[in-house]
Structures are given as C-alpha cells and as structure tokens.
Symmetry: D2
Subunit: 391 residues, 4 copies
C-alpha cells in the first residue's frame, strides 16, 4: 500500500528551491511538507521573503546553507543554474503577481517549475508563460492541489469510464468565511495581499478559490467551459475585490453548471464541493471529508466509496498511502502533486514523457484558470452577461 | 408538547371538500393525511377525479356520502354552498391548470380555499385570483408545505431577530432524479402531467419544485427578489419542459442568491436545501433531515439546533408535536399548514384576523411564485438575461 | 404509494377506547395521532385520567361523548362491552403498573388490546397476561413502535433473506439525556412516574428504553437471547432506578451483543441505534434519521438504502406512505403499528388470522421484554453476573 | 499556524534507526512518513527485516548506507552506540513479540526508543521494560498514535477543565472488517502475524485495536480502570485469537464504560470512536472524521468544534499544522507523536524534562495496555467475569 509513496530511491532526491514561503506565509510551509512527505525532494535553496534580510533569516530558520539563501529569485536562478549541484526544480509560492517573472526566470535557467495558483495575474502573462514552458521543455506543475486527492482521481476515472454516462449538470462550490469581516484592515498578512488587486490580480474569491473549483470541475469531468455568466460582489465595505461569486456555466457538449465561491459564508471553513450528474448516475465529493466519494447509479441505492476500500479503483490506489479508514488529508493530496511532478521530472531526466497515469495540472490548466478569472471579471463588469473564456 | 396539535375542539372539526386527489394521485392522499393528522378537519365531499364515474368511485373508496361525491368542482361548489352542513373549506389538489377555475368557483361560493402550488399557470390568472380572494374575504392557503417544518419556522425567526445579521447570500436548491429518463413516455401519471405544459404550465422543474425553493428562501429571509437570470434546460430528449434550472438572484437590499432546481440529478431524492449567510452568521437546513438546523455564528463553533431541543425557540415549538429526537417529517409539516389554515378559518368564523404567529403561504405568495416562473421563462427564452419578476 | 395507508374503508373505522393519556400525558396524544393517521380508528370512549373528574375533563377536551368518558377503566370495560356500538379495541397508555389490570379487564370484556410497553411490572403478570390473551382469542398489540419504521422492516427482511449471512454481532443502544439531572424532584410528570419503581417497575432506563432496544434487536435479527450480564447504575443522587445500563448479550446460535441504555448521556435526544454484523455483511440504522439504512456487503462499497427508494423491498414499501426523500418519522412508524393491529382486528372479525406480512409486537414479545428487565435486574443485583432471561 | 511543525532547526534533525518495517510491512512506511513529516528526524540506520538478506535489501530500497543496514537489532544497537554519529533514537515496528528484546537492547545502548503497541506480549515483560526505562533515563514513546489527533487533545483538555463535569459514562469502540473471513489462511502477511498468538500475544482484536481504544479512553478522561468483564469471541473458524471483544468497564471514581473491538464487522474500516458523558456535557469523536469534535453542553444545542477553528483551544492548536477545513489525517496524528518525542529527546539532550504540554504515551501507558489485555484474557477465560487489571 505504502510502497509507491515510500520509494524515493528510484533515484536520489530531487534538489528543490523555493521562492516565497518565508516566515508568516501559510502556504510555504504546506509546500515544504508536501515536498518532504513522500521523500522525493530535498530543499536546498531559497529566496524566501521579499527583502534580502528577511530572506536570509527565513533561510536560516529552515537550515538552508546561507550561501543558498538568496536575496531574490533572479539571483537565485542564475546562481543555482551555475552550480553543479544546483536545484533541479523550484517551488514558487509568492503572492500571485510575482509568479510570472519568477517562473520565467527559472524556466530560462533550465529549472523545472512548481507554481502556486492562479498562475498569473493577467491573461497575457499566462499565455506568455505557456509559450515559455513549451519552448523550455521543462516540467511545469501548477498546484491545484485538490486534484491530488485519491477520490478526486477516482471520480475522474469513473466519469472517463462512462460510469455516470454523459455529463449533464455540474455543481461546484467553494465557500469559506474568513473574510466575513474586513480582516485586511487589521494587517492580517493573508487577507492583506489576497484582497489587494495589485498582488492578487483582479479576482478576489474567484482568483483565490473560485479557480480551484473551476479546475476541479474540469479535472473530473474533462469538459471545457464555453461560456459563463458571473455575478461577482463585494459584500464587505471597503474591500477592493469580490468576496462572493455566483457563476453560471455552459460546457462544450451541452452540460450546464453552477459555480459559487465565497469568502463571506459563516460556518464554511474550506468547503469545496463538487457534484456531477450524468444520464446514468451522479457523483458527490466534499473536500472536508475527502476520503469518501458518493456514487449514485441511477435506479440503484447510492454507495459510499472510500479511499483504499472496495470500489476505489487503480487511479485512487496509485496515490493512496495507507489503508481505508485511516484518513489522508490536505497535506497528502498536496504531496501527491509534488510526487507526480517528481515522476515527471525523473522521466524528463531520462528524456522520456511521464507515464500516462501521472497527473498534475499543467501550464495549460494555468492558462484556463486565468482565462476563467478574466472572463468572470468581464462578465460581471458588463452586468453579469454571458462571455466566453478566451481559448 | 402535543397539546396544541391535539386540540380539535377549540370548536368542532372543519368540514372539508376536495377537488382532485382521486385514485392514482399521489398528492391527494398526502392532503388527506395532513388534514386528518391534527384532527382539525373532516372530509365530507369531493370532486375527486376528472370524470364523473371515476369521481364517484374515488368517493366511495374514501367512504364519502355518495350524494357528496360530485362529478365536477362546479357542481360541488354550488351544491355544498346550498347545504346547511356544506363544506367550509376545500382542498384543490388537481393538476395546475385547473387550480384557477376551481379556486374561483369556491371563493364565489363563500368557501375557504386550500390550494396546491404553483397557484395558476399564468400570471394573469394569479393576479385575478388574488383580487378574488381580496374581495371574498375568505382564507386562501397555498400549500408550500415546506414552510410548515418547525426548523424552517425557527430559521425565519432567527433571521427576523437579526441572529445572522444582514443577509448577504442565499443558496437554495431542490434536486430530484425521478425524471432522469423520459418517464413521461411510459404513461407514468405523475410524470405525464407534470411535463405537459398544458397542465403543468410552462415551467417544468421550476414550476414543480423550483417554486418551492424560491418560496422557502423568501419565507426564511423575508427578502423580495428584484431580478433573476435563468438558464433553463431540457436534458431529456423529447421532453417539453425544463428539467434543470440554474438561476442567479438579486434581492432587494443587496443580497445575492443562487437557485438550482433539477429533476435529472441521480442520487437526489427530494433534496431541498437552503443556506443563508449574513454578516453575523449562517444557517443551513435540508429537507431530508428536517429536524436539525445548523447555525454558525461567525467566529464561534457551529451548533446543531434540533426540533424541540435546547435552542429551538417558540416559533418552532408552536408547530412541534413530539419531543426532540422523535423525528417529525413531511406529513407533519404538511399537516401544520392545514392546522394553520384551520386557525385562520376559526378566527374568520368569529370575524377576527388570525393571530400573528399563525403562518401560511397566501395568495400573495402564490402570485409571487407564478411571477417567478414567468420571469424565469422570459429570462431563459432571451438567452439567460436579467429580468425582473413582475410585481 | 399512499393507497395502503389511505384505505380505511376496507370496512368502517374501528371503534377505539383509551385508558390513560389525559391532559399532561405525552404518550396519549401520540397514540391518538397514530390511531388517526391512517384513518383506521375513531376514538369514542376513554378513561383518560387517574381521577373521575380529570377523566371527564380530559374526555371533554377531546370531544368524547360525556357518557363515554369513564371514571376508571373497570367501569369502561363493563359499559362498553354492553353497548351495541361499544369499542372494539382499547389503547392502554397509563404508567406501567396499571397495564396488567386494565388489559385483563378489556380482554375479559372481549375487547382487543393495544398496550404500551413494558407490558407489565412483574414477570408473573406478564405470563398471566399471555395466558389470558391466548384464552381470549383477542388481538394484543404491544407498542414497541420502533418496529413500525419501514427501514427496520427492511432490515429484518434482509437478515431473514440471508443478505448479511449468519449474524455474529449485535450492537444496540438507546441513549437520551433528559434525566441528566434529578428532574423527578422538580415535579416533572414524565420523570416522576418513570423513575418511581412503584409505577414504572424495577427498571429505570432499561424498562423505559432498554426494552425498546432489546426488542428492536430481536425483531431485526430474529435471535433469542440466552444469557446476559448487566451492569446497571444510578448516576443521579437520590434516583430510585437505574439511569444507565451496560449489558452484554449472548444469543442462541452464537451471536454476541452489547446493549447500552442511558438517560444521562448529554447530547443524545432519542438515540436508538442498531448495528448488526453477519459473515456476509453489516446493517446500521439510527432512529433519528430513520429513512436510511446503511448496508455494507462484505467486500463491496457500503450503500445507503432509503425508504421508498431503489433497494428498499416490499416489506418496507408495504408500510411506507410517501415517495423517497419525503421523510416519514416517529408518528408514522407509530401509526403503522396501529394500522397493523387494524389489519389483524379486521381479520379477526372475519375469523381469520392476519396475513403473514402483518407484523406487530405481541404478548409474547411483551413477556420477553419483561423477562429481559427481570434478568437485567437479577444480574446487576448479583454484581453483574451472567443470568438467563426466563423463558 | 504551521510554524511549530515546520521548525526542525531548534537543532539538527535527530538521527533515527528502525527495527522492522521492511518490505511488505504496512506500519514501517507509516512510521517513516511520520518521522519525516515535521522534519525532526533523519533515518540513517535499520534492521528492517527478519533475515539479514532481506534487511540489506530493504535498507538499500530506502537508501540507507549499506554499512548501517544491519542483519538484526542486536548488532545494530551495539554498532550504532559505538559510532560518533550513531542513532539517537530507534523506532521498533516489528511484530509484538519482538518489542521487548529490541527495546531492551537499545535502552541498554543508551538510545531513546519509539515503540509500536502493544508494548509487549506478557505483563512480566511490560513491567521489566518499565523498570529498564526508569533506570535508563531514556525517552520511551509508545505509538498509541490516535492520541496525536488535535481534537483528541482538545477533548482531553476539555475534560480536564471540567467542561463536561464529572465523567459518568465512557463508550469506546474500535471496529474493522478486514478479518471477516479467514484472511490469515491466504498468506496475507498482516493477518498472518496479527492472528498468531506467538507473535501477536494472546490478544487478537483486543491486542491489535482494543488497546488503542482502551488507551484513548484513558487519555481523554484521565480515568483508571478498576475492573472489567470481557466476553471475547472468535467468530471465524480456525482462528487462534479473538476477533471480537465485548467488555464492560468500571473506572475509579465511579464512571462506567463499554469497550467493543471487532475485526469482523462488515462496513467498518477503521472505526475508532469515543464518547464521554459527564454530568455537565458530552463529547463525541470519530477517528474517520478526526477534524471535528462534537460537544454537547447539557441543556444547550450541541456544537461541532473543528480543528483550527473557533472553540478549538491551545492543546489542539499546538499540534495542528494547517487552517481549519483543510483536513489533517492519520499520518499527521502519527507525526505528532514523533514530534512530541523529538521535543522530549531535545530536552533530554539538555538534561531537562520535556515541557508539560508535550504529550505522548509512555512506558507506563504500555504497561497499562498489556495489563488490559491480560485482564481481558483472564476474564474471558473465566466465562466473562469481573477481574481487576494488574496495577
């Protein structure tokens, strides 16, 4: 069961650097645990904070060689590329507005990139980055981490296998409550940058969490969105970005969907939920109880398929670490993306494509996510009318 | 606890007639149980089926006096009005297209009306009926039965008391799966008329269940919808009405909402759910587990308030029959509307208005429901654009 | 769907009397609603309270003919037996210590008996009553009302059909919290008699709710208990009966079980739960969400079978009134026992046995329940040692 | 939030060895992930399998220095103690019968021990080991890993703070289904040794999982068991140990409990559940959804306290890594024990006791667990009579 996760020495660990994620950042530590969990990476370099001094301090706190605790990502890309033991991959976990420049720098230095979402703050940058990735031949993994959950993998496999028939209806939502009040005015660091259009991009809830929901629906159903109608709203006085988004979706092939993202829904912690209905059955999954997938074949009693339990197929088993009833969570799903990227990076070392079962969001998914935000902003600005996400 | 429900003899039972609800009808039997449960009514007359012979046969099956098993509602209204022991109230439980004529006939005969939803199949009829009710001075109760659930009453009371602050977001949905296939082509009676625009009205899922969802949201929040954008769809080939509806809502005062109704969502039996979020807290309720209400005051641990249990206030207690942990269900909620109507009818006997705590959907709610269907059809026909429900 | 429940006129309504259940009694009103719900009975006589005056008053409140609001049950049995329109059946809903004498009086008067549980306060009385029922040829229905739930019926049918294989383990529990404090010292009427050995019998929680749990396990599994080891305890100072019972069970055929009853478990309202495990599968049911039954065939994904939904077989359908997703609750389950008794009474009118699918707890179940209480008290008095319930 | 977990460099990583856990072992990989997750340890040596050749092979698979992939634990203890860079701590993850000798060897070599449960297969060994630990002054951490869950920590803190008042009733259970059939006869490695008294000890389900349940109840309530009455059973033909245990418990101070362990309960994956009821409130926790704790203060609506969310106090926050709604699971809880042991080991380096908030099961808990198994076996052998666990 655990062997897949517990096998670092299909070769030595991958040398990893990190941009962002210094002291006070929530997501940096998550990335580090994720990189460590399956023992596929060792963190050896970083440009962890936004000032040279804080970067050094953060590097020291993590036990980095002081020579590799860089003042900024540009210096790091150059220096690491020049080292014989330089990093092979970099994690970019800064606020959104810095993703593009950092990713570009490392791709140009011939270093694989693992990048947080949303990929960029503009569609132009997203397309530019996609072109750079194509030219570089490097691996680019976007951490839409929810696609790492085993039962999400199984849901995707079930849809692909036709087990719910043709998809008709997609209900996806991602609700939180931490921005119910104007937290950004208190100096809370996460709230501060995530509600600042200059750093987060134009989207508030849609950028921070709506993109996850949009990506999850696409990942599971395989469907492309053709048009959307978005009613974005800022409920909290003085906030500069949306904190609630109500979006209608039309998919290629005729499926219809609804997407709700909110950061002002009291009682919701991190309530990402996906429901997909086809002409033969329905699937329901909720991130807060991620080890179960509800499957209702039309005309039969619904069943609850659990991770590592009967009914969970190979796509889930491949990314499960422990037996059923032993819950895996957010960090494991995040780690799975890191491990998937590691599989791809190892294959790249050998000049091969990754095996077909290796799955992680790519730069194309990143472009789609930024196009979604762009379309939602355009739609809402026009009074919530129908627009097509850019191809 | 049970005394309120168990007290018929605040006066004798109310003499009740029924239009529709003969053999093979699902909802007729539900109305009869609902009328009987709290011992407020006795069924003494009916025009139960669509042909004289079947009406007689259905009347006999229910033990009605053959003289009062009428061939049609018109004859019944006239004859009952002329009897000294004639019916005081009538239940209209026919397909939708007959509600208007039947309700008119009984109002004109001076008989109180309890009528199924949606109230009429056109907005013009709905307005006409509202005028008739006003002129008649008779009680008109529309059976949006979900408003009879104790925890729905409590949710309404909590919103009114400001316990969740100003309402910002309304998420309401009503999903079923029984029309996943083209059941109407098999001769199934319920599917047959409910998907026939001539009998059901132009709305499919929005008329049959979407109106319940719309009404429930209005009942709990007290908010009026100012505009909606509806994407209605027919997924089943050959179907004549929508079987899925995705609707964005904008409420007076700034709240935003989403409404989803579907009859093609496998694994959903009768999944009416309401979630309301304000600036101080959130409420969540699901019809299939109706005895619990989840209340999340912002910044505190969510609590589960159960019917008849600590935290359930007087609005719920008034319409609860048994102690907590003893589940009440659909029939009890339906019975509560009948009993509320009985309270109003008894008050009307004495020339008084009903007490303020007596709550049931009125003809105004019926107009609002038909205006909702009308607006959704107009919006969808225009490509899912924003329209205002008629006032 | 509703036709079975909604068919009173397989003959006229059964004339019913009631002993106990006057003002202030919780369970009397429940019995009256249960008798009324399916329209099988009309309540025409009563000895409703413990004093003649209060009996008259309670009778008036329920609209009884004053001549049939009797001062006591003995007078009622004699008088009703002498009337041509006398009651055919009586409901006995008094505190436990009066069940025996009242049931005897009506059986001797040739009147069918519906009696609350536990059947008597001594084993000798229970056996005597069983003999009387046998000699009388009258119907005796004990209201172990939880056996009326459709999914309990389905669970029983599944076990009988071998769908979980040979039963190995039975986990049954019934937890409440209303006696967490010494409520009986406040004058609360329910607490007062239910903790008084003179009126309740020697058992506290085991008599009031433990017998329900014990009966439910037997009803579903069909197994007889051969031995038990009971650790009864009174946690509340000054209480005269047990308020918590921990019991080990050994069943004929080798199954083992655990039974927990408690009235001092805060957060439990009326938490009756049954879990049964065989060598091929497991079943789980909880009274507070009674419309679902969890079925886990060994080696397959568990499924949730819902009332009136796919997978719920004929034993459940027979006693269901409405479609799936429309919850039925406690009152409906209670009503089902009344309707089952009505089927048996109508059959008896014609000198026939009831049809085999008609199920209700009988006097034999009543003896078993009292033998359980007796054995639990003996076991606990001996320091929680193994004893055999009397045959 | 993540800082506590993400701070290896309160000093360098602790050098760790492992005994057992080679290829095919489930729990070895779990321990390695747990040791790695918070970056407190580096695995540098092992005696991983039961033969020298397989040990070497397993060591190579994990990337160990071949010189430190020892043929057996005795050689490893001696050699590592002699190295300047020798291991500081060892994880013992073998079948139970080898715990004692291995732990003794490392303690005598002056190496801290992290050991799987149950601690030993006999009570004599358990006591002997306790004495050795006392004499050695080394840290001994027994991996009752469920005590690492944040909400278990919070439950313990709530009980200690009196938030549920005096504990009255403890209901604890641990149900699985993987031994429903005679899996051990198929050669499945886990089933093979866990049902072999020579390797597992005399207890089957009680040793493998019952001890976890027993320990969890003690950890949360702080209560000592004074007497128990155990009905152990083997349902599967040919099995050599119990596969189901029904146990009554009496605690010091008057609380009563029930413990159920089963490995033949179809539909149960790893269903460890604890419910504790006091005179002021109740607590309920289930391992399969470990991020929530239900708290029912008597007379108030129950609340659901979530990890990292409002209401979860410092004892939970100290061992939480990520925000609420981001589920942590089994591996994180396991990692917490490793990190707690690391805190203690670092304190020991400095000659200090660990801080009072550092919590992990000790050798005393190990003795209590073995005494529980011993008492349960004695009780059951005597026909399920009351016995006192050895002090």
């Amino acid at each position: 069961m655990v062997s897949a996760a517990d096998a670092p020495t299909q070769g030595r660990r991958i040398r990893l650097g990190m941009v962002g994620g210094g002291e006070g950042a929530f997501i940096g530590a998550v990335h580090r645990i994720a990189a460590r969990l399956d023992d596929q990476y060792e963190l050896v370099a970083g440009a962890l904070s936004s000032t040279p001094e804080r970067s050094r301090h953060s590097g020291a706190a993590l036990g980095l060689d002081p020579a590799r605790a860089y003042p900024d990502f540009a210096a790091m890309a150059v220096a690491e590329a020049a080292r014989p033991d330089g990093i092979e991959a970099v994690s970019i976990v800064t606020p959104n507005h810095m993703h593009f420049a950092a990713a570009s720098a490392f791709l140009q230095a011939g270093i694989h990139v693992i990048c947080d979402k949303p990929m960029t703050t503009t569609l132009a940058e997203a397309r530019d980055l996609a072109a750079q990735v194509g030219q570089s031949g490097k691996i680019f993994c976007l951490t839409h981490n929810y696609t790492g959950y085993p039962m999400v993998r199984h849901a995707r496999a079930m849809v692909a296998a036709g087990e719910i028939g043709q998809v008709r209806v997609v209900q996806v939502e991602y609700a939180q409550d931490w921005l119910t009040t104007r937290l950004e005015s208190t100096g809370q660091k996460q709230a501060d940058w995530r509600t600042d259009p200059a750093r987060a991009g134009g989207g508030g809830s849609i950028g921070d969490i709506g993109t996850h929901a949009y990506n999850l629906a696409a990942f599971v159903t395989g469907l492309a969105c053709e048009a959307l109608c978005a009613d974005l709203h800022r409920f909290v006085e003085g906030r500069r970005v949306d904190d609630n988004a109500h979006i209608l979706l039309r998919y290629a092939g005729g499926a219809r969907g609804m997407l709700w993202s909110s950061q002002v829904a009291p009682g919701n912690e991190n309530a990402l939920k996906l429901r997909v209905y086809g002409d033969k059955g329905g699937l329901e999954w909720a991130q807060e109880h991620p080890n179960q997938l509800r499957f209702a074949p039309f005309g039969e009693a619904p069943r609850v398929i659990a991770r590592s339990a009967p009914g969970a197929g190979p796509a889930a088993a491949r990314v499960s670490r422990i037996p059923s009833g032993h819950p895996e969570g957010y960090l494991e799903a995040f780690a799975t993306l890191y491990t998937e990227a590691a599989h791809a990076i190892r294959a790249a070392r050998e000049g091969k494509p990754p095996l077909p079962e290796v799955l992680f969001p790519t730069v194309a998914d990143g472009v789609a996510g930024v196009a979604f935000i762009d379309a939602a902003l355009r739609s809402s600005a026009a009074g919530a009318t129908w627009v097509a996400p850019a191809a």
